[in-house]
Symmetry: C3
């Protein structure tokens, strides 16, 4: 049951005034982290968001009657360790949307939000794409592959897209879920994160299992010669209290391909839960004439989350990345300068509080 207490309601500029429900929510999460890179050294740090990204959310829903509702969502990501916005110039970088929803026909949502293929990957990662065990350590940290070919060092669309309009299926379509996204390129600059995106996701959730697939296609005439495609397929299943997942995701642009694999498990124990994952990134082809075939790596991660309450938890996570060939993937937070093929290890212990 969601708890949403009424805060305030003034139709600021529209002249209308009525009761509303605004929810202020978020996550505050900090961890002590130690990362060791073979042949380089060890760094200790306070890290933000080892279990869930630290964030501040302002959102609300209005019941319009007849099964219709209007809603908005503003979500700001921040580094709790330093008080720094994830992106000062894009403060509401995590989500900024307005939407109109029908219980029978689904939701039309406009603004900045996750792309379908990201939503289809992160749900299968036991570490939810954050912390020393995050699959992002391999997936998004691969600027030597098709991501660099398509976007250079500019913002990319492997997680979110701005200027998008989505249709999302309503709940209650017999276990079906998913949606379609179109984002306008606006004739803008890739450097500003303005890309044209078309994507879709469809899933089926049954009692003890689920499966889903998604595909997103980004075109960006300014830096890429061809479309960047992002395909993802995943499944999960429960065996008693244990839940397992498997996922596959492939990025492609011109001759470059990055294939990501993920196996995950959640094992409840005591007041908490063990989490395990194995992630693999396999690159092939070339970017700008340079072969990326050798840039492969694997990561194993183990974590335990001890729930102090439904909202607060202590957690600890271990991870190790094994690079092959020239690959230099690292757990975030360590010293720079890892040599190709060397490994990286991370450990963190933290406190996550959802509000």
């Amino acid at each position: 049951m969601k708890t949403v207490l009424a805060i305030a309601a003034v139709a600021a500029s529209a002249g209308a005034q009525a009761q509303s429900s605004v929810t202020v929510a978020g996550v505050a999460d900090a961890a002590i982290r130690q990362v060791s890179n073979d042949g380089v050294g060890t760094d200790r740090s306070l890290a933000s968001g080892g279990n869930a990204t630290s964030r501040l959310i302002v959102r609300g829903t209005e019941d319009l009657g007849d099964g219709l509702s209007a809603a908005f969502w503003l979500e700001h990501g921040l580094a709790l360790d330093t008080g720094t916005p994830a992106q000062a110039t894009q403060f509401w970088d995590r989500r900024s949307t307005v939407s109109l929803a029908s219980k029978s026909l689904g939701e039309i949502r406009a603004g900045r939000d996750f792309v379908p293929s990201y939503s289809n990957w992160s749900r299968y990662d036991p570490f939810a794409y954050v912390g020393v065990g995050s699959s992002s350590n391999l997936v998004s940290a691969s600027p030597t592959g098709p991501i660099r070919g398509a976007f250079g060092s500019n913002p990319n669309t492997t997680v979110r897209a701005s200027n998008s309009v989505q249709w999302l299926m309503p709940s209650g379509w017999g276990g079906l879920e998913g949606g379609v996204m179109v984002a306008a390129g606006e004739g803008g600059l890739a450097a500003n994160g303005q890309h044209k995106v078309v994507g879709a996701r469809v899933g089926y959730a049954a009692a003890g299992w689920g499966v889903s697939a998604a595909h997103s296609r980004t075109t960006n005439d300014l830096t890429a010669d061809d479309a960047f495609t992002d395909s993802a397929v995943g499944a999960n299943a429960g065996f008693g209290v244990v839940r397992v997942s498997a996922a596959w995701r492939r990025f492609r642009q011109l001759d470059a391909t990055q294939t990501n694999l993920l196996l995950g498990a959640w094992v409840p124990m005591g007041s908490g839960e063990w989490k395990l994952s194995w992630t693999r990134a396999n690159l092939s082809g070339q970017v700008g004439g340079t072969s990326i075939d050798d840039n492969d790596a694997s990561q194993i991660a183990l974590g335990y989350v001890y729930n102090l309450s439904k909202r607060s938890a202590l957690y600890g996570t271990l991870s190790r990345i094994t690079n092959s060939g020239a690959a230099t993937y690292v757990v975030p937070g360590g010293p720079k300068g890892l040599a190709g093929g060397d490994s990286s290890r991370g450990i963190e212990a933290g406190l996550r509080h959802s509000f």
Copy 2:
């Protein structure tokens, strides 16, 4: 009736603690927009704030007894399509004020707020200075005129001023309203928006009609040789359910003059309202030795707002700008490169949700 529910009250640094009322409010508004510029082409985009500027407001009032009250207002403007602050380095760019008000003597308000002549113009614009039909498309998009002469490309005072102190008339002075503003230049840089401003506004509102006038004078020794003056006069009247408006606003600096005219109408129909406007910008004189006489343009706009509730609405707007001479005014959101004298057309359909 304004609805303000109590949220919290801690006199954070002052050591005092008492019950308060903090209101979190705002607007989320996004529209699909298409803008065509003759001889150039067409761009489609997701736009923020076609009906009302997307924003987040934190504000509150404390009743001090004896007809006195204290209040604060922080208002942040944002682009909902991308999650981007209107100004990251001036986050609370729309308003940041603290005030002390008396029911009989009026309000003293300090901080950043609208200048009197802006307040006297925007109220007569059926499109409230936003969207493809906004009068701002001509009024503020005229950097070839006195605005450029006075401010260059730096922040100007045609909408708001920082470092201001205002006195605002109380309600209940027999239909009179208005106030006086003084903003300190602080010996600062025009590039930082630090201008010395003196302005006043006075209006009279009767049962079916109203009239008002305002004048603001900005001095800025660093970039302008002379004062920039901004004068505005307007009136509105109701005929049955139909309301019409007319307004005039003139910017002047040295030899340059920009005269803006506006005719507006609001026509309720069904669950919503038609809106019509005609805007004209007429430039004369010269800036930096260059004549600006030919830089004139007109805009016509037509829109319909369909109210889903008092707080949420669907809307659609059409507009067309006709340039004469060398003028290149455009509806925002189109491709660059309009030739002098060519026209620009915009259309948008969106969802506005006030919270």
Copy 3:
């Protein structure tokens, strides 16, 4: 009694949902200020935070049972006169923490917060380190001394530290209070405010008096050859309604020393309180081969705070800085160019509203 009304509760990413208490609080404070620098001139301005720094706070506490609680605190500093964040790129610059507290064992707090030696100084300053009478006019405005030697013009640790973990004593240890802080250097850049800090504070508070001491040590291999140390001792006592304070604080790095002295008094009268302070900064030694022995100054300040309520107040403050030798300390807000040894005077009148 603290008033905290429930707003909302959604464990956003953790999947858990339960009732919460989020508090939105803060301070809105603006003053008309005039600062005269001898031999230079006078500037008038609207200033933010003459009595208390303008800020916005989002915070909350969750009762975990058994005397345990979890909490978070996000605090944003802003200039109310212009709507500008104190630091846009470090929006939550005043505080961003998550913590776990036990009634018997104290609190573990992680994130960005005050360093112990700052907390041990500001509490003895009647002007709370803000406004024309603030002791910061001498203490933190001394970049010619050890602060510059250690940090250059980069962020320093005389007020806050990022990446810190603290243990804070619980209340109820027989009048004892204080804590220990460790902040990770993270192998980072001093330019980004990444410093390694170790500090502690201990105080004893009795019925009519209190005494406390603190020491913080910052190491920063990138810009400083040696540690920067910050030691503070203070005491306060009440005589009837009058309260007085005395404090000493010393910064040291290599051959440079800055010794700060403070005498303060609070005298209730009518609906308000008089505040008096005398501050002295004494520099000795050298920075980069240049002697700083002559860079000494004293400040006297007198203020009155008239309480409109527990949350709102009108205030007025006068201050005068007397420089000796080559010192050029000034009250903030005046024109630039004070010659060494000349004096600076400030006066302000403002409104502070806590929400």
